[in-house]
């Protein structure tokens, strides 16, 4: 007890040094919390944008469909399966799709396209498709008309009110053909989608392809995207082997790859940050040891066991580190929440790219508690590790040498 009291007093013996150390720790915690939470926030936001575009966080297909995306790999929709999916607490919504390929023709032009038979209401709930309508109007369930993506409409030189002819291969080899009025034009930032997608209501698509009751996928939205993997696992168990659950990471490995690469870059930045703190803390520790060498020699000379002296120094380090980390975490909480509510806006070319893809050009922070805890802990451990240096010095201390002027 008296040792702790003495440690507390010692921590304040050189007010400036303690304040410098604490400030170094304080800013280190704040900076690393913000880099960490910004990094996660940006990626979460990117993923949210990407998946809410078209894919959803999770999709369910018939096993084998992903490798061979043809209608013969579709499955019959069923209330029981849908209920099983929606029962999971982390799943907020589900929409059904029947996707296939077709040749789309106007009077004298023909292009290949992706036909997506959708459930207009549920689709809009998950991918906000209605917001992407730039001309005409959105679909109703019983419409026998289509929405064309803007790029495709341009290539076919079609406008709202015109007619598009679709020809393709239907379910089990039947021929699929039909004529549909263009009800609206939708615009996507992604050129991939914008140049080749055509939406029609699910019943119309089933009729076109002769695939009564059939679906190619369920698209699923999540409450907490962080639990993606576990949710997917549970879901797979719930719906059995006939159907296969896929996460966006599996469906879009390139996006996942991009995020991994970028977060590695962020880790380098954090590493440099940690290195700077190391120098800061180590410098003050060196100063302290030089300043107190005589005194430590004297303490050992009059009979203080080295283990006690080590305890004293340890307690001093813990005081400083703990207060620095605690203050840092305390101050970073409002900062991170503020940056979450009022995210940084990006400008310039990056912003243009974001906008072109239909994303808001913002860098929000993630407010996940893990950032505060883990960064606080990392800085604390770095500090603790560095304070092993004085301990090493004490172990090797010789009272006579330490006290010589």
């Amino acid at each position: 007890m008296w040792l702790l009291k003495m440690a507390w007093k010692n921590s304040w013996r050189n007010r400036n040094r303690t304040i410098i150390t604490m400030a170094a720790i304080f800013f280190a915690v704040i900076l690393s919390v913000i880099t960490g939470s910004l990094q996660d926030g940006i990626f979460d936001n990117l993923v949210k944008n990407m998946v809410s575009y078209y894919s959803g966080y999770i999709q369910v297909h018939k096993t084998g469909y992903w490798d061979e995306q043809i209608l013969d790999n579709s499955f019959a929709s069923g209330k029981i399966t849908e209920q099983a999916i929606l029962r999971h607490e982390n799943i907020t919504g589900l929409t059904s799709r029947l996707e296939s390929f077709a040749l789309a023709s106007s009077e004298n032009l023909t292009k290949g396209c992706l036909v997506a038979g959708i459930d207009p209401d549920n689709e809009n709930r998950i991918t906000n498709l209605k917001d992407k309508v730039v001309a005409g109007t959105y679909l109703y369930e019983n419409d026998k008309s289509v929405l064309l993506s803007k790029g495709l409409a341009g290539r076919l030189q079609l406008n709202t009110g015109d007619t598009v002819i679709l020809i393709g291969q239907g379910y089990h080899g039947a021929t699929a053909a039909g004529k549909y009025p263009v009800k609206g034009i939708v615009q996507f930032g992604s050129p991939d989608l914008n140049d080749r997608v055509l939406f029609m209501p699910l019943p119309a698509a089933r009729e076109l392809y002769g695939a009564e009751q059939m679906l190619t996928s369920y698209v699923i939205s999540l409450r907490d995207p962080a639990r993606l993997a576990t949710t997917a696992e549970r879901l797979q168990l719930a719906i059995g082997n006939e159907l296969h659950v896929m996460t966006w990471e599996e469906m879009m490995p390139d996006v996942k790859q991009h995020i991994t690469t970028d977060s590695n870059n962020m880790k380098i930045i954090q590493g440099i940050l940690y290195l700077l703190i190391c120098f800061g803390i180590f410098g003050t520790l060196l100063m302290m040891m030089v300043e107190r060498k005589y005194e430590m020699g004297m303490l050992v000379a009059i009979g203080m066991r080295k283990i006690k002296l080590i305890g004293l120094l340890m307690a001093e380090s813990v005081f400083t580190l703990l207060s620095g980390c605690a203050l840092g975490i305390l101050c970073s909480v409002p900062l991170v929440f503020h940056l979450n509510r009022h995210p940084l806006r990006i400008g310039g070319e990056t912003a243009e790219i974001y906008k072109r893809f239909g994303f808001e050009p913002i860098f929000p922070t993630s407010t996940d508690a893990i950032h505060f805890v883990s960064q606080g802990l990392i800085v604390f451990c770095i500090g603790l590790l560095l304070s092993l240096y004085p301990l090493y010095k004490v172990v090797r201390l010789n009272a006579v040498t330490a006290m010589r002027k």
């Binding site: 007093k9 013996r13 005589y294 005194e295 009059i302 009979g303 066991r305 006579v400």
Partner: protein
């Protein structure tokens, strides 16, 4: 009853034995009894500090044995030696004896905390010691709020707080003006007389030497004179 406090046989301490050997202490015998008030004198570099470090268990002789209160301290391991110092030897250094963040009282208590002395006993002893050094009114001052002489008096109190077999002081008055030096010596002499506390101290100061009961002279690591110093005019040679 055996009154021997220190019994050093044939001790030597050689610095730099490989390069240019310095015989800081060369085959010294030293015998100290309870209640002595002994000054260690000699020119600079004669080995006073080295000898005090050896008998204080801060340094180990290269040869010879040092017996303190029946324990051969040359055979103790590092940790045992620290513990031995804590319970058997009081130290007063030339300066910076006190822990700057603690008050005078806490500095004196500190050594008893290391000894795990009970609170009641500590309080009693602290009061008694501060009375003896005449600083009852300065107990709660930090070292920086005390004069050099007062700091040395507190150091003496701390040295005594552990109830050591003897107190060892290496030039305790070197940084003091003569008034403060006399005052410190008075207090040490009084403690020696009233409590029979054993003191051995090194010094350069002639007036301090005159207060000693016994004066040991070192030259080049050897004891060249060992005299009873009282009365001043009538030196009596005991050993050479």
């Amino acid at each position: 009853m055996n009154n021997t406090v220190i019994d050093a046989h044939n001790i030597s301490r050689v610095y730099n034995p490989e390069t240019i050997p310095v015989y800081a202490i060369n085959n010294v015998h030293l015998h100290l009894e309870k209640g002595e008030f002994t000054a260690l004198v000699g020119p600079s570099g004669s080995g006073k500090t080295t000898l005090l470090n050896l008998i204080g268990g801060l340094d180990k002789p290269d040869s010879g044995h040092i017996i303190i209160g029946g324990t051969d301290i040359t055979s103790l391991r590092a940790n045992e030696l620290i513990n031995f110092r804590l319970h058997n030897i009081g130290f007063v250094f030339q300066s910076f004896n006190l822990i700057p963040v603690l008050t005078a009282r806490e500095n004196v208590e500190f050594i008893m905390l290391l000894q795990k002395v009970k609170r009641k006993e500590r309080d009693k002893r602290v009061i008694q010691l501060f009375k003896q050094i005449g600083l009852e009114d300065k107990m709660n001052n930090r070292p920086v709020q005390l004069s050099g002489g007062q700091q040395q008096r507190v150091a003496v109190a701390r040295a005594l707080a552990s109830k050591p077999q003897f107190v060892l002081a290496d030039e305790p008055t070197a940084n003091l003006d003569s008034a403060a030096a006399f005052n410190l010596l008075d207090i040490m002499a009084k403690l020696n007389k009233e409590e029979n506390t054993t003191f051995i101290f090194s010094t350069h100061d002639q007036r301090v030497i005159e207060r000693a009961k016994r004066v040991i002279t070192l030259v080049d690591g050897k004891i060249t004179a060992d005299t009873a110093a009282v009365p001043l005019t009538n030196h009596k040679l005991i050993v050479t």
